[in-house]
């Protein structure tokens, strides 16, 4: 049984990346029995949103966001969580060789079928791009054949040509059945979402704001072999 369990490793930078960007997909695979391991390189302790009204300060934020992430993991069905203890906003300054080695070690240990990370160029934040770059390097070092995907924001990859990709490079995951879990994960990240009024409307109203699909850029040959509506 355990040898047949499908596994997914997500290597991200901040608490909330997993929920806001691809929470529906993670919830979908978790409910289908996929074992999910999440890395958050930082604790998001340099975030700007401190609750609304504010109840955090710079020194209390790391612990608060760790707790929030643990709750979000429960809402999404993520079983394993690792922090790399890198200070928020400094991932790009971490030793790239050590960082890649550390991720490579985790890839060997977890032995996932699918790896998710940020696109090195289109990650949208220096920490995102840096962790994406390190993960690409890490997978190379392992010489393992794992399907690598880059997460993307909203429905930007409906038009992949803008980013130098084609439809064949994109996996489009239907997450219309996971809106409840995704919304619960948004709400778990309370200090970050209190400012967004829509998150706290009724479930029905709030879920209407969540898209039906999440999009992933295929990051290697192994991913290109897979279907366009499934990461596995």
């Amino acid at each position: 049984m355990s040898s047949e369990t499908r596994k997914l490793l997500a290597v991200f930078a901040h608490p909330d990346d997993e929920s806001f960007i691809c929470g529906g997909t993670l919830a979908k695979y978790a409910s289908a029995g996929v074992e999910i391991t999440l890395v958050s390189a930082t604790r998001g302790e340099m975030g700007r949103r401190m609750g609304n009204p504010p109840y955090l300060n710079r020194e209390t934020m790391a612990a608060a966001r760790e707790l929030e992430l643990r709750e979000a993991c429960e809402r999404l069905g993520i079983q394993h969580l690792h922090f790399f203890n890198i200070r928020d906003k400094t991932v790009e300054f971490a030793d790239p060789d050590q960082l890649a080695d550390r991720i490579a070690g985790l890839i060997r240990e977890v032995d996932p079928d699918v790896i998710l990370t940020f696109h090195e160029q289109w990650g949208g934040h220096p920490d995102h791009c840096a962790i994406g770059k390190a993960t690409i390097e890490a997978l190379d070092r392992t010489e393992l054949e794992k399907a690598l995907y880059f997460i993307s924001f909203g429905d930007a990859m409906e038009y992949p040509e803008v980013y130098g990709y084609f439809k064949k490079d994109i996996a489009k995951i239907n997450v219309s059945g996971q809106k409840k879990a995704k919304l619960a994960a948004f709400r778990a990240h309370r200090c970050q979402t209190e400012i967004d009024e829509w998150v706290w409307l009724s479930d029905q109203q709030a879920m209407r704001r969540l898209g039906n699909y999440e999009y992933f850029i295929k990051g290697n040959e192994e991913a290109l072999k897979r279907d366009h509506d499934d990461l596995f």
């Binding site: 340099m46 949103r49 401190m50 609304n52 020194e59 400012i195």
Partner: protein, 103 residues
């Protein structure tokens, strides 16, 4: 964190005068410095809210920040000052303590 009362913050700052302190200072969207160590010689609070705070250092140098709105003396006796906007977003922070802050 509570809204700044100038006289109370001035009194809390007095404890750090003449001491070696560690400073965390940030303008959230642009810059942060963490754990620079200086000897504080003077500390000032000015304004009607938001407030301006300035430090003078023992040998040479200034640190001046504005837009500070809230303060707290935390459980580790560190003085935390911060400036929030009306929706809870941090604009600035200025923390001082006698021990280093967590890296």
């Amino acid at each position: 964190m509570r809204p700044i009362i100038q006289s109370e913050v001035e009194e809390l700052l007095r404890v750090f005068i003449g001491e070696d302190i560690y400073v965390h200072s940030e303008a959230t969207s642009y810059v942060f410095v963490r754990n620079f160590k200086v000897k504080l010689s003077q500390a000032f609070v000015a304004g009607d809210g938001p407030y301006r705070v300035a430090f003078r250092f023992d040998q040479i140098g200034w640190l001046r920040m504005e837009a500070l709105t809230h303060y707290e003396l935390d459980e580790e006796s560190r003085l935390l000052l911060a400036g929030y906007d009306d929706r809870g977003r941090m604009n600035v922070a200025l923390h001082i303590g006698k021990e280093p802050f967590a890296e």
